[in-house]
Symmetry: C2
Amino acid sequence: MKILDIRETAIPLRSQLANSSFDFTEMTTSVVAVITDAVRGGKPVVGYAFNSTGRYACGAQMRARFIPRILAADPKTLLDESGDNLDPAKILACMMRREKAGGHSERSIPIGTIEVAVWDAVAKIAEKPLHVVLAERFNGGKIPAKVFCYVGGGWYTPGQTIKDLQDEMRRHLAAGYTQVKMKVGGLPLDQDVKRVEAVLQVMGSGTNLAVDANCKFERNEALAYAKALAPFKLRWFEEPCDPLDYALTAELASVYAPPLATGENLFSTQDVENLVRFGGLRAHDIVQIDPPQAYGITQYSRTLDMLARHKWPRVSLFPHGGNQMSLAIAAGFGLGGAESYPGVFGDFGGFADDARIEDGFISLSQRPGIGFEGQAGLYKIMRELAA
Amino acid sequence: MKILDIRETAIPLRSQLANSSFDFTEMTTSVVAVITDAVRGGKPVVGYAFNSTGRYACGAQMRARFIPRILAADPKTLLDESGDNLDPAKILACMMRREKAGGHSERSIPIGTIEVAVWDAVAKIAEKPLHVVLAERFNGGKIPAKVFCYVGGGWYTPGQTIKDLQDEMRRHLAAGYTQVKMKVGGLPLDQDVKRVEAVLQVMGSGTNLAVDANCKFERNEALAYAKALAPFKLRWFEEPCDPLDYALTAELASVYAPPLATGENLFSTQDVENLVRFGGLRAHDIVQIDPPQAYGITQYSRTLDMLARHKWPRVSLFPHGGNQMSLAIAAGFGLGGAESYPGVFGDFGGFADDARIEDGFISLSQRPGIGFEGQAGLYKIMRELAA
């Protein structure tokens, strides 16, 4: 078997959202289709993925370097030992030829998106959901029935009142979620604290609420927020500062007892190892790598191996993304959970149309592969790309 | 005055070179032209730059995000206080709108290349060489007459003999250079040591020879090379390991007394601050940021401010690149020196055609701007882009 073609297209997210640090009005994402000559259920197997949200489309790098390297390779060198399926690790190594050390994000996002699409094809060829394939390879075959899932919400919108914010959280609770996350850092500290207190009235307890500063704060403001937020004992305080400022992260961890969270803006295993070596994190802090943006699932498994050497518990890992890819990864690797962005990011946020949320847990797709075929709006875009 | 247009084109380097870690056969670079409505010497002022070597062309990001943001801005908001010239810091801030924290290399290279082209225009509008403008703004007006410059050579080539390597070094000495750099890590340690010993016979002293492993080594090999090379007391041992592995860098610095060198694969001020915080470097170690690949000259000045807070001497800074841009930057900021790749990287390596090398120092271009107009081969490409 072999890969016949790899296609990509850039799609605007058309989101009007804003957090404390930037808005999404120009945001795009790259959708990828890996077309194989394998046939399952009478149809050619095509693997799909997209590069999550928050980083721009990266099709130029795919077209100039990564797709040609894969298509130029002897197809036999990209297969697993059985010869019946693709080997994502070999395809990753093929894409990394002639790449210089460091400088990860320029290539980790295009490479990771293609690699995750390869996994979609691998699982479809194996005729299993991706989370089952991952659980068999990377988690001792432990196949969960459901995954903990929280809502990333509480954005800043023009004219929003405290009641609007509380009503949003009530909707998330009514939909079956038990934990929500809200933005901080977009207003002065005292007003942000009022927002947090108002949401806590709805959520009942700090353990049901995380806050996200999207890397907004310099040292003094980060310390001021940490001091003001600590009494709420929130589920976590996400990205208080520059994602690469390990020294400030360590200083915050030394004064802020409840969990911190970070990692969605780290793109290599080495950066994550620096975070755990120098960032002063504790086992209850949350690490949020986004696998399709960080070289894909094979590299994510290597990051988990590195974290295991540092005694990091998998339950403290929540992959960034809020989509069907991160859900399958959270399920397959046995992570702490996934995030959800209901009604946000158009076709690129959310899960299978038939997914059920109950008591904070989400059901898993039983479709072969990642399960994009269960997302009508997104699958329409993907199917057209492969047509 | 205002920017009328910004154009870019990708050019293949067509290099057959290889170091210990990768080859350059697919390598491309982006050439940029910033076209203004200012007129000097009867001609419109155009600023030029390219994204150095070793990282691929990045025109797609320029076209999708950074050029449109600049062209959409009110031109008055991009001018300095006099209103008669461009303000690179304001143009940098304009390009950074709607960019998420972290993930630097995906944008630091396109942004830095455009920003350096803006500086070329700024200096041409001021009718001064760029190194003079930089010295006035960032180094107390100290304008040097010449800059120390060493040759980056000693590549691995098929069929190369020890005598070939020695002859290459003799040519560099005959051309007026006093220090050379050679590759290590492409052969087993004992053979690499023989190559180093052979070059030392030509160079006379370890202080005239640096070696470059291009990030090749894992821990054991890095430590073995450090042990074997230490007795030679070389000028420096460059990139022994992963550029982001600060812990291993610190371990090497604790056992290897002569200077280490690294930094060409760090793309943000925060990454460089992590290097000096966690990498165990000493004041005699060399830091080699490549400004056009790391957000440009404005950001480089901020990196220097950060390094000054850490008591880092400017004489320990050698910008990566081996081109007219890094030469002007080394001269203008008063750095330790520049590197040179004579006869390598085609039109994209080297300096003004009339530059003179004498006793290890290179003369500076007195042309307005960076001085690309003195490089006939390169300027032909640039001029066509602006035509």
